[in-house]
Subunit: 388 residues, 2 copies
Amino acid sequence: MSKKIAILGSTGSIGKQTLSVIDQLGPQYSVEVLTAGSNYRLLSEQVRKYSPSLAVLSDHRAAEELKYLLRGEGCAVSSGREGQVEAALFPGIDLVVMAQVGFSGFEPFVAALKQGRTVALANKEALVIGGEILKRQGLLDLNRILPLDSEHSAVWQCRGSAATGEIEKIILTASGGPFFGFNSEQLNRVTAAEALKHPNWQMGPKITIDSATMMNKGLEVIEARWLFDLSLEHIEVVVHPQSIIHSMVEFVDGSILAQLSEPDMRLPIQYALTYPVRQKNSLKRFIPFGRELHFHEPDRCNFPCLDLAIAAARQGGTLPACLNAANEVAVSAFIDGRISFKAIAETVEKTMQSHSVTAQPDLEDILHADYTSRIKAEEIAADMTGVE
Amino acid sequence: MSKKIAILGSTGSIGKQTLSVIDQLGPQYSVEVLTAGSNYRLLSEQVRKYSPSLAVLSDHRAAEELKYLLRGEGCAVSSGREGQVEAALFPGIDLVVMAQVGFSGFEPFVAALKQGRTVALANKEALVIGGEILKRQGLLDLNRILPLDSEHSAVWQCRGSAATGEIEKIILTASGGPFFGFNSEQLNRVTAAEALKHPNWQMGPKITIDSATMMNKGLEVIEARWLFDLSLEHIEVVVHPQSIIHSMVEFVDGSILAQLSEPDMRLPIQYALTYPVRQKNSLKRFIPFGRELHFHEPDRCNFPCLDLAIAAARQGGTLPACLNAANEVAVSAFIDGRISFKAIAETVEKTMQSHSVTAQPDLEDILHADYTSRIKAEEIAADMTGVE
């Protein structure tokens, strides 16, 4: 019997890699649902290759184009937010892969969890912004949310069947990005082109910049907190420039388990797809001979985004939504050459300072915080434009 | 309800450390049986402290002394091989710790396994020499033999609940010992005093020399083969001078799990005692910041004992018994200053070459191989004495 997969966000980086993993895994995995935002051309090609029962685009006009391209293909087409939720709830699905970008993934994620579905999660915002709501609603069932991030997958693999009380802490590794070891003066001069060159991973531009500022690791700390039901004191970050150890778990007896591999997102994706078993593949193996693994303390002064994220998580409420929104605005402004690298953290920090936090927020509160924080961050970034 | 422990070999290094772990674990662990070879003074002190129901010494005269020292203590005293078997089968025991030195541990080990007992195994020879017999008798139940060696404990912890078919290979780490990186000429000049200084571990003299020759890692390959039901092609050795990663498991999907800690035997001992849960302790933690982990290919030319052990394992039969016996003789001769460091491997190799292997041996065959190999190795070592 085949394992039936829905992929929400199939035209993005993680979505495409998920499909390539399924290509390798063979016919016991079948793609039943594919969704994307507006890329109807690529989605129509994917539908022709994988013959799902349902295809969804968030953009209504793009969905009309898709319908036209797929006429006679026997694949239903839906659109909009309702379509994404329909995809997450499509009957007979064994695993829903959440690979969308941004907070639009939250609604189908909640819908899937409420129906008791197993979800493989790559969408960071769903937990960073929505984790507190999910926790309050009792929806954070660790057995049903399978992490796709390499770090969280590593923790999941290392944790095994240990109870939360047996975990002393988790140690998330960070490559440190292209500017690890830079001092304040050097960071003053870095360009977007330099920031977009990640030493170890091939990723989209937003996450690559987040990796350079260490905001990415801060967001992962927040995700880890919800995924593994740990308080922030039990989550540590270590810089490991080789990106071979993807994270570690330290148990209460002092024993540490670490997960290693050459950096390749297809490994954590495959693990989530084949879980609870492992399946052979031809990914490049880590050969230890002649290799060195180094570990450093993060530079929290020159890379303040890490602590901004942790501060947002500590206060909670709408503050993580504010952090995330401000960071998205600031990163865009940096990529566009409007603000400097160091102004990313300053923009986020100032936006957070001006944000009036709502405790125990509902979804409306969070959407409002997201909206107002974007406007505020744009103002702050505009003030900084051209300022060194 | 307390967990009742029998410790066979309680006056040796592992036995004493097991007792110190039990001291820390608290009253839910009770020591019911203690055994040793001939050290009646230390055993009588241990009996006074832990109040077991039975104490055993292999040496009959020493057992008489023990009885005298323990008169009125309410502890039964037995002696000889029968006494050690009685200890392994003592009623109501939850875990039998096998910490004896040498092949004398085999008989009580087999007795315990036949009775379906759970055994924590530190005694190398039981598997190195007796593994093939145990396998043939269907006694190698991986759920009942808990490894105490740091390397095998690491594999056990990394393996988790994975099936054997999900394991691509296990990677045993070796410190390389005090002479790692030495060339042939440098090895010509090393002394026993230098070989006895292990860079990372405090151990007895025999195992410290085995570590310097890499015979220890060879014996561990043989143990691992039986413990984890793997063919020799699926067991790899990597030199890791820092002794922080105690071993690794590579799964068929290319994911590797590694177990890390500061080197301290009390950690794997505690894990076996508290299994399947973990319990808090105050052992020194591995702090990754500023640390480096290096990995090298073993130097199989200058440290031929590793491949001698693997060759013995590959041929099987009585050859591992011959290897083990010849190595014990050669190491003694080296410690006594009778032969050179390089002559250890030569003695083992020549003894193996002269050995006529019995396939599918029974216990008698193995004891005979052990006996004749010791005599042969003594002859060979004597011929080498004084020869550079």
